[in-house]
Symmetry: C2
Subunit: 299 residues, 2 copies
């Protein structure tokens, strides 16, 4: 399988996901921007704003290649002289605080020395954590993982706990999910099978999200709940700008800033040293933002 | 002069600035939080929220010391085994988009090997740039600088242009100001004189800001102007979380997160790929966000 074939598969995935998310939203459609990168490659950024369900969301495809710059070498694990990277990256910020923020990414990386790997992940960031919903989310991911390797879910779940974590807050971003990187063929899985795994994750994504959505999208919302959503979105911004290696790679590799930062919400806020009632649902959510919770066993 | 004496001077500066800013605000007062750092030292965080003029602002004093950790060594220019750092740090986010955001910092750093330096800066981030106001701001800074060294203003002005810059946006944060770091005694200036320079900057800060404030605080505000303020605040968040070395140092040296991130606004927002009218004041402001504008000569 060539890198070009992987890119074609990623493009197809973007098409299918956008179509299904438009149906789920029911109010707005994706607007597409084509862009090209000065040093090679480009992308198809698709943004949906002010929908019925989604306040701001993006489903990006990109396929970039070129010389490995000094900045990339210093900031990433990349070796070799030239690289090729393709993938689909999604962040959806819903309108309603009872619907979680969701993120998905699948990506393929190849260097001129022949080294390649796949990476990706899905993680869920509820503004209000409901353990049953977190468990259902993790169960869906486990089902897909298990059909490729029994090792995937436990390993990738722990990886997500470690990756989607804000050290300066001692908080996870949300209820986690799965994260994986540097996955290449082994005795157990061929290269095609790993690509298939990535595509299946992507193709199941709209179904997984719609299960989360249906429970919250029609709930009435108080001012306090909206303020809390704004506050939690602030944490999402912090993670993406301070901690996320994907965002960092994009910005230092000369990616298109508007496409990379589509992950930031329409509105977010910071209140100094927020004080919560100890028995509030907001405090309950904070208490759940810890590594190592086995959601499937909890519920 | 001992490091303890510098810390006492910084504390006094914080007191004087807070008093004057409360008078300027006329509606709210600073609330103080004392905190201590597990590995040595602590601080006095003072926050003013929901004032008449200031929507959210902080004037922080800190004095931290301890072992130089591996994380600090990897992320900063620090050598030696143990360090001492003290300073005052200010960010003010006004309510009215016609009043600029302002930042000031003066700091002192000393290592156990006897190496010390002063650093600091003031920079102005108008939501709408008015060249006359930018020029007046720069003139005030030049006057202070010139009374210590004719080299200070041109050197520190250029340094600010380089420091308060977002490479991923190819924009300066605002109209700049001055920035300096690693300043220690020389043939021209004693250690006491550098401290005096820092204190004079700090003591002139409320006057400098009130000149900017009086021109905008009572202006009526349209919805479009408020949206633009929110959007520009998004850039302020990006700079602080992606580019600001001070924020990075604070977060990796085990500083208090809530004190460091007091610099983030109550609200901010991100609109995908904003489109501006070519003759709008918003576009005019964007066009001014460039390095190397000599505001004093322009107006």
């Amino acid at each position: 399988m060539t890198k070009e074939e992987v890119a074609v598969a990623m493009k197809g995935l973007q098409n299918r996901i956008c179509k299904q998310l438009e149906e789920l939203d029911g109010g707005s459609v994706f607007v597409q921007d084509l862009w090209s990168r000065a040093d090679g490659g480009g992308g198809r950024t698709r943004i949906l704003q002010d929908g019925k369900l989604i306040e701001k969301g993006g489903v990006n495809f990109s396929e970039v290649h070129g010389e490995v710059t000094k900045m990339m070498r210093n900031n990433t694990e990349i070796t070799g002289d030239s690289f090729f990277a393709t993938g689909v990256s999604i962040v959806l910020h819903p309108r309603n605080p009872h619907v979680p923020i969701i993120h998905m990414n699948v990506r393929y990386f190849e260097m001129d020395n022949g080294v390649y790997w796949f990476g990706g992940g899905i993680d869920l960031t509820p503004h209000y954590i409901v353990p049953m919903q977190a468990a259902s989310f993790h169960r869906s991911l486990k089902t897909i993982c298990d059909s490729y390797s029994p090792e995937f879910y436990p390993r990738f779940k722990e990886w997500a706990d470690d990756y989607f974590y804000l050290p300066h807050r001692d908080e996870t971003r949300g209820v986690g999910g799965i994260f994986f990187d540097h996955i290449s063929e082994s005795e157990a899985l061929t290269k095609s099978q790993i690509l298939e795994f990535c595509l299946e994750l992507g193709d199941t994504f709209p179904t997984i999200y719609s299960e989360q959505v249906k429970l919250g999208r029609d709930k009435t919302v108080s001012e306090q709940e909206n303020d809390w959503m704004n506050y939690r979105r602030g944490r999402y911004v912090e993670f993406n700008l301070v901690n996320d290696r994907g965002t960092k790679f994009g910005l230092v590799s000369g990616g298109r800033t508007e496409s990379i930062l589509m992950s930031l919400p329409k509105n977010a806020g910071w209140v100094y040293n927020i004080q919560l009632e100890s028995d509030s649902r907001e405090q309950e959510t904070l208490d759940y933002l810890k590594k190592g919770i086995e959601w499937i066993s909890v519920c």
